[in-house]
């Protein structure tokens, strides 16, 4: 319970501070996805801005906890005040015994018991699986990015990366896996966090209630670039979501301009397909993220950088500087016009 509280408290900071924090991030990481966002979106990663049934329950619990502990705190302060103000000549044994037992033992026990029962009663709802037939999304924690696999009721699974779209108002069943180290899957605005544990599949049910863009993060230290292991979450209307998913399931369209065509050739010639899949081409690697529709994503490098050809170019040539320890090797030995062509090709994979 306290663990949860501590996590939740991270979201509480005065708006002014939060804004300056966002600005700081912009200065330090000019390409940070924060810079992409129009004003008013600075709360995309806040547990106090719930946009899902589960997050709303947790926020509710949080405020009850704050209220309950405030009562206990006020009681303790009142006792302290009373004890220093009481003169020996006016000391009344019965009255003091009543105060000590009443405020020191009975009041906290009652308040904390109520909070405990209240908190525990919230648990079953949070750990319950989504109703059968719900949309199933398998998320694997990689180092340091997210492999996302939509498993529609009929048809082939659709393998994507670092961006999750959800239909508003429908429960979704996340199945969480890892084959390397422990990660933790957390979309503060939608639900609580859930660990990804090697050798196990953990579950998390989420029911988004508001459309919009939200930010998910890895909430368990998992190595050098843990802090850059993020993902975008888009909650949208059902029809829009269906259109998106159907498009993501299609193979990549062949590049339609000479520069992008050259980029595709370079992409294949330099062996990028050993790690990455671009459906519809020979590139079928599964070590790194699927890039079939990379150009349609909101950001690159696990929501670390904006998705444009300039940043793609820097990512290809200098991956390690952008994401220390990244498994993706840098390709700074390639001719810069070849790298540029590849960036244009990848950005064109809508």
């Amino acid at each position: 319970m306290t663990h949860h509280l501590r996590e939740l408290c991270r979201g509480i900071e005065p708006p002014s501070q939060r804004d300056s924090g966002a600005k700081r991030a912009e200065v330090a990481l000019p390409g940070s996805a924060v810079a992409l966002l129009p004003d008013g979106h600075s709360r995309i990663q806040s547990a106090l801005n719930p946009a899902g049934v589960e997050a709303a329950g947790i926020e509710n619990l949080f405020w009850w906890m704050v209220a309950g502990t405030t009562v206990v705190w006020l009681g303790v302060m009142a006792l302290t005040w009373h004890s220093v103000r009481t003169h020996p000549e006016s000391f009344n044994r019965r009255r003091e015994a009543f105060i000590i037992v009443g405020c020191g033992a009975i009041l906290p026990t009652v308040v904390l018991s109520i909070l405990l029962v209240f908190g525990l009663s919230a648990l079953p709802g949070l750990v319950a699986p989504a109703p059968s037939g719900s949309l199933k999304v398998v998320v694997s924690g990689e180092m340091w990015w997210w492999r996302v696999r939509y498993e529609p009721a009929e048809g082939q699974p659709i393998i994507l990366a670092n961006e999750i779209h959800l239909p508003v108002g429908e429960p979704v069943q996340f199945l969480l896996e890892s084959d390397n180290v422990i990660h933790s899957f957390w979309i503060p605005s939608l639900a609580g966090k859930m660990d990804l544990i090697p050798g196990r599949t953990t579950r998390l049910a989420v029911t988004p209630t508001k459309t919009g863009l939200f930010r998910g993060v890895c909430a368990e230290y998992c190595g050098t670039s843990h802090a850059l292991m993020k993902f975008d979450v888009v909650v949208e209307e059902k029809e829009e979501f269906n259109r998106w998913l159907a498009h993501q399931a299609t193979p990549a369209a062949p590049p339609d301009n000479p520069l992008a065509q050259r980029g595709e050739k370079q992409f294949l010639a330099n062996g990028c397909g050993a790690c990455h899949t671009v459906r519809g081409t020979n590139a079928a690697g599964v070590v790194g993220p699927d890039l079939t529709h990379l150009g349609s994503r909101l950001s690159i490098a696990a929501a670390s950088w904006p998705n444009d050809s300039a940043h793609l170019r820097r990512w290809i040539a200098d991956s390690d500087k952008i994401k220390p320890g990244a498994y993706m090797p840098k390709f700074d030995m390639l001719r810069s016009d070849d790298v540029n062509a590849m960036a244009v090709y990848l950005k064109g994979l809508k």
């Binding site: 050739k265 294949l268 010639a269 330099n270 062996g271 050993a274 020979n282």
Partner: protein, 389 residues
């Protein structure tokens, strides 16, 4: 006065050992400091000869020899030689001996080359002395060199495997006569029959091919039958040229190849890389212990990688396949399995180095275990070499 001092000393000494000690501390210290000052003055005066022509005093020679033997013995405690009676290892060591060692240590035809004969100490003709050393001790001396003798350290300290190859040759050296020695170090290349495509090369480049490349890699680039040397026939010229430049810069580590590559100009490197690309790869050599099941396992790794271990497929860079690839990536089909195994092992140990592309292999190789390395090497060696694209 001095006599007086001795008298006092002996009188005191008979009574109290501690005061005797105290009495002697000062004179001994003064003596040592004075000795040091005199030594520096003598050296500064320049009268000590450092000329090699006059040799050492007998006692100096004995002391240096004694120190060397003791140091080598102590520093090789716990070192264990790998199996060295391997023909391909001997061949590899022989190729380097001819270029790197013979100028000082001689050959069966000329035990003491004239210039080296005037060194102090004179570099020994090794068949006379190798039997006095253990293989581990030879390894230590070849790898680290010997101070004050002119014996250099191995140019690539990362490559113990090459040092062991030289040791393997040294152990076989005493058995060789002049003819066998020539056969071993130069192979068929010494018959200098003109390879038809050699005549198309500039004379300077064809000389380099005949004298520097062919003794080990063959005039046709197919190596020496045994897996001692990689096959370079048909290899993409860009890869060969960039590798030679990396050797020359010391970026790819090899005590054998670095000195050779460093002596070739970059124009000549381009020419001989193109010459070898045009050579026809011979039919693949059968690896030792080749098995069908290993080749099948290797094929799966080469074409699909090992996703669980983050090992990508080999074919996306190295072929075989129809997609045109970057010509800086080496073709592997038909290469000696032993060579491929060694390269992957060196990549795993971060000891290989290479061209500007070589870092791509560090994470790739990290996920492979020994068996998987052997399997994938066997798969590639079982393929017939394609013509480079």
């Amino acid at each position: 006065m001095i006599r007086n001092w001795f008298k006092v000393a002996s009188a005191e000494g008979s009574g109290d050992a501690r005061s005797l000690l105290r009495h002697w501390i000062l004179p001994i210290t003064v003596f040592c400091v004075a000795l040091g000052i005199v030594g520096v003055l003598v050296a500064a005066s320049g009268v000590i000869p450092i000329k090699a022509s006059s040799g050492h005093w007998a006692i100096t020679r004995w002391f240096l020899q004694f120190s060397k033997e003791r140091s080598v013995a102590t520093h090789t405690l716990g070192l264990k030689a790998p199996p060295l009676d391997d023909r391909s290892l001997i061949l590899k060591g022989a190729g380097h001996y001819e270029i790197g060692c013979r100028p000082c240590h001689g050959s069966p035809e000329l035990h003491h080359p004239r210039i080296a004969h005037s060194m102090e100490p004179v570099p020994p003709y090794l068949p006379d002395t190798v039997t006095r050393w253990k293989p581990e001790e030879l390894f230590y001396m070849v790898k680290h060199g010997i101070k004050f003798t002119g014996m250099p350290a191995w140019p690539a300290q990362q490559r113990d495997d090459e040092v062991w190859a030289v040791v393997a040759f040294l152990l076989a050296f005493p058995e060789l006569d002049a003819e066998e020695y020539q056969q071993l170090v130069k192979g068929a290349s010494r018959t200098t029959q003109q390879h038809e495509s050699l005549t198309a090369l500039e004379p300077g480049t064809s000389t380099i091919v005949v004298e520097s490349c062919a003794p080990c890699h063959g005039l046709g680039g197919n190596g020496r039958e045994l897996a001692a040397f990689p096959r370079i026939a048909g290899q993409r010229a860009e890869y060969t040229a960039e590798s030679l430049k990396a050797y020359a810069r010391g970026d790819r580590h090899s005590g054998i190849m670095e000195p050779i590559a460093a002596g070739i100009s970059s124009e000549r490197i381009q020419q001989l890389a193109q010459y070898y690309e045009q050579q026809k790869p011979a039919s693949p050599a059968a690896a030792r212990d080749r098995t069908t099941s290993a080749i099948e396992r290797g094929q799966t790794i080469a074409h699909e990688g090992i996703p669980d271990k983050d090992v990508p497929a080999c074919v996306d860079c190295h072929g075989p396949g129809e997609t045109p690839r970057n010509r800086n990536y080496p073709l592997l089909a038909g290469q000696y399995a032993e060579y491929l195994t060694l390269q992957l092992t060196l990549f795993q140990q971060h000891q290989r180095g290479g061209t500007a592309y070589s870092h791509l292999m560090l994470r790739v190789s990290a996920g492979l275990n020994q068996q998987q390395i052997d399997d994938v090497a066997q798969y590639y060696s079982s393929l017939s070499s394609p013509v480079a694209r």
